[in-house]
């Protein structure tokens, strides 16, 4: 590979180890101008590490990193990446919530100083938002903390595409659509396509295989810190892509499981609630043993409904009728789920401690036993359940959170989009578990932003603007119907 063939970035044999964990184990990667490169793989496959290396946040242990043909391995940093027109949109939001949208744009551009910088920054970010997300409804002087998570993600993405002095060559998008609804996701991906056709390059990391297949010129599949497949996008289809990622179970298995017969109303009501809007098309009802889906665009009142039910159960409030103890599986692991100082066992046991108290004291033997039991049942990949929870990959952390809820005495399990950023293999394992537990009489309320997951539900409520706008049985459920209700104009 010579210096002047226009390649933006090329990595040769790049490796990064964290202790014994080989996050990257000798990766080659090349990004040419005008290319949209899809990067897929399980959690822990090394995608994020690779991206952090490209962004200049992590220095690789070995390997060569060339940017525009220059070997920058030894002096690569966030600043150097920026100077060379390489930008990242990180999975966790990297905006300052206390600053305005315009000020956040300024953070990104060291050259935006001097008289009138605020107006210039505001015009720049507003212009880019208009270009990518028409009708976004965001003002440059809005405080970021006051915006919804979806809008924040839009700001974050738009910011990455803004240009001041350094020209832009490559934008890396890590799960950019995770907090966006269907419409804005499409706006973004269409924009990316237009930009790529004009010569910009993008790396798209996504668990939404449809996005990657539809929009990427080239798809790179990673597994265990290595690139295991790299081919033109057109050469893949859903099945071959999943196969390349190394899933034992194929996506079709989801369809097979659709067969579960469910007759509504044969069991007693477990949960009954209404939204606060008073515009519900139907009351929210879940029967014992039922898997109930909460669908619709992201952040349209689904989480609020789950929290309302949770509060009613925890504090004995009359705002919702709940027949038994509840447990919640958080989707946002870092803020709602894990206890980062604790071992995996402790993280699982915390919801069930009450039952482990002997003579006023917690029985450590019982706690360890629960950890071991669930390590087997939910297949948490770790040498030792006493290791810190952060030693697990994201998907396995999520399994631990499932174990916490399932191991408890809860009869009703609330799930707050728990599969965000979880790999397909883990998902399929957990789907099975949920179905088994439902057979045994547990009730699941499942908010999800992924259409595929709704097919696991016996019944689905669609939310829009905080209200329930549709009530679909398993037979009636289709992507079209959900989308239709999600966007229906109010009468």
């Amino acid at each position: 590979m010579t210096a002047s063939d226009g390649t933006i970035v090329s990595l040769e044999n790049v490796a990064k180890h964290f202790g014994a964990v080989r996050a990257l184990d000798g990766v080659d990667l090349r990004v040419d101008p005008g290319m949209c490169l899809g990067l897929v793989g399980h959690n822990g496959a090394g995608k994020s590490t690779l991206m952090n290396a490209l962004a200049g946040i992590l220095a690789p242990d070995r390997g060569v990193m060339k940017v525009h043909g220059h070997d920058l391995t030894d002096r690569y940093s966030v600043a150097v990446a920026g100077q060379n027109g390489i930008r990242c949109v990180f999975q966790e939001l990297s905006l300052c919530p206390n600053l305005t949208v315009a000020e956040n744009a300024r953070i990104f551009h060291p050259s935006l100083t001097g008289w009138g910088w605020k107006r210039r920054a505001g015009d720049m970010i507003a212009g880019k938002l208009d270009e990518i997300f028409p009708g976004h409804g965001i003002q440059p002087d809005d405080i970021v903390g006051d915006l919804s998570i979806g809008k924040r993600q839009m700001v974050e993405i738009a910011r990455a595409f803004t240009v001041t002095d350094a020209s832009l060559h490559l934008v890396i998008l890590d799960e950019p659509t995770s907090s966006l609804d269907a419409v804005t996701s499409k706006q973004l991906l269409d924009f990316v396509r237009v930009e790529v056709d004009q010569g910009l390059s993008c790396i798209l990391i996504s668990h939404m295989l449809g996005e990657v297949l539809d929009y990427c010129d080239r798809i790179v599949v990673m597994k265990d810190g290595l690139v295991v497949a790299a081919r033109a996008g057109a050469e893949f289809n859903r099945d071959t892509l999943v196969a390349a990622m190394g899933n034992v179970v194929e996506m079709e298995e989801i369809e097979e499981h659709e067969a579960r017969e469910w007759q509504r109303g044969k069991t007693p009501v477990a949960v009954e609630a209404k939204t606060d809007t008073g515009n519900d098309w139907a009351p929210f009802i879940a029967h014992k043993g039922e898997i109930v889906g909460l669908a619709g665009l992201a952040a349209h009142g689904q989480t609020r409904m789950l929290l309302k039910i949770y509060e009613a159960a925890m504090r004995g409030r009359k705002t919702a009728t709940v027949s038994g103890p509840v447990a919640l599986v958080a989707g946002d692991r870092q803020t709602d789920g894990i206890f980062h100082l604790w071992s995996i066992s402790r993280n699982i046991g915390i919801r069930s401690l009450r039952g482990m108290v002997r003579r006023g004291l917690i029985d450590p033997v019982a706690e360890a036993a629960m950890g071991r039991e669930w390590q087997d049942r939910i297949k948490i990949k770790t040498p030792d359940m006493n290791d810190n929870i952060l030693s697990l990959s994201g998907g396995n952390q999520q399994k631990a959170l499932f174990a916490r809820a399932l191991a408890s005495d809860a009869e009703i399990i609330l799930m707050d989009d728990p599969m965000r950023g979880v790999d397909v293999g883990t998902k399929l394992e957990v789907y099975d578990l949920i179905r088994d537990e439902a057979e045994k009489g547990r009730t699941f309320l499942w908010y999800t932003t992924e259409m595929d997951e709704l097919y696991n539900c016996d019944h689905t409520y669609v939310f829009r603007d905080g209200a329930i706008v549709a009530d679909l049985t398993r037979k009636e459920l289709s992507e079209e119907k959900v989308l239709q209700s999600s966007f229906k104009e109010s009468a």
Partner: protein
């Protein structure tokens, strides 16, 4: 588990190392003269720091921003109220003690009300309430010159072959609180809340009840400290709590409890309290002036936290 154990061991061992070092330096300087007496004195005085330190530790462990700045004024108020009620009579000892506990309970509940109902950040809430408490103590205890009941004075100053009885009682109390921290639902909940309050609530912990108990615990311990301290020092004075603001926080941190919350240990509080006392003793032995003594105390606290107390990065 071994790893976690090693880490927590690392956290509190420093305070004991510091304690022994300072004691050794003093002993060498004086040629070993009175070294045992120094330990006795250190035990006696550290006792009071430990009592409030344990309360402060539980508060700090419930997470960033949680700290009880009303401890000094609670000590003063409790001491003044108890002395006035007992009026130097042994017969009123129990009543005085209960009145002390009542003060603590009231302060704790008031603090928590500010935090919960008015949503005031704990530092500011306890700071504001400390103003009110101190004013109450000043207004109530003006010109107070009452001797403690003899029984209380005897108990707080009693020694058995150089070992202060009160220190033994508080060591036992520390053991009990250590079990409370590590093996009870309450302790586990405190540790969980300190790491992530929202996650704790979503994991089924009644966060508000636990925080309420924690602030009440801290205030009650401060009140008990005020009660015992006025017995120990022959009466209550209005500024007797003053030095316990720094001391209560310093022993917690030097003892290896994480200021970021979620990680705590009780042995370290004893080590740190002894260390702090022995440090001042050492400087006195060296004949340092007041200014030098203040500077050294401050610098050593900063040095200790710099060397041992830096929180390891969380991710």
């Amino acid at each position: 588990m071994t790893l976690i154990k090693q880490l927590s061991a690392k956290a509190w061992i420093w305070s004991f190392i510091g304690m022994v070092l300072v004691w050794l330096v003093t002993a060498i300087y004086t040629g070993g003269k009175g070294s045992a007496d120094v330990i006795t004195a250190a035990l006696s005085f550290a006792t009071f720091t430990v009592i409030v330190g344990i309360g402060q530790m539980f508060v700090i462990t419930t997470g960033p921003g949680n700290v009880d700045l009303s401890i000094p004024s609670t000590i003063s108020l409790s001491g003044a109220v108890a002395m006035k009620i007992m009026g130097g009579s042994d017969a009123m000892l129990i009543v005085g003690f209960l009145a002390s506990l009542g003060c603590g309970l009231a302060v704790g509940m008031f603090n928590y009300m500010l935090i919960r109902v008015l949503r005031i950040p704990p530092i500011i809430a306890t700071l504001s309430s400390s103003f009110l408490i101190l004013s109450t103590a000043i207004a109530y205890g003006r010109g107070l010159k009452i001797k403690p009941p003899p029984l209380l004075a005897d108990f707080t100053t009693a020694q058995v072959s150089g070992v202060p009885v009160l220190a033994v009682v508080i060591i036992l109390f520390a053991v009990v609180m250590s079990v409370v921290l590590n093996r009870t639902l309450y302790g586990r909940a405190v540790l969980a809340i300190g790491q992530n309050m929202r996650a704790a609530w979503l994991a089924g912990i009644n966060v508000e009840r636990i925080r309420f108990m924690t602030y009440v615990l801290s205030a009650v311990l401060a009140a008990i400290c005020g009660f015992l301290l006025s017995g120990f020092s022959g009466g209550a004075s209005l500024n007797m709590g003053q030095e316990y603001l720094l001391a209560s926080i310093a022993v917690v941190v030097i003892g290896g409890t994480s200021v970021a919350g979620g990680k705590a240990n009780i042995p370290g509080i004893w080590g740190a309290a002894m260390f702090m006392f022995l440090l001042v003793t050492m400087l006195n032995t060296f004949g340092a002036s007041a200014g030098i003594r203040l500077i050294m105390t401050g610098l050593i606290i900063v040095a200790v936290i710099t060397i041992a107390g830096g929180d390891e990065p969380q991710r």
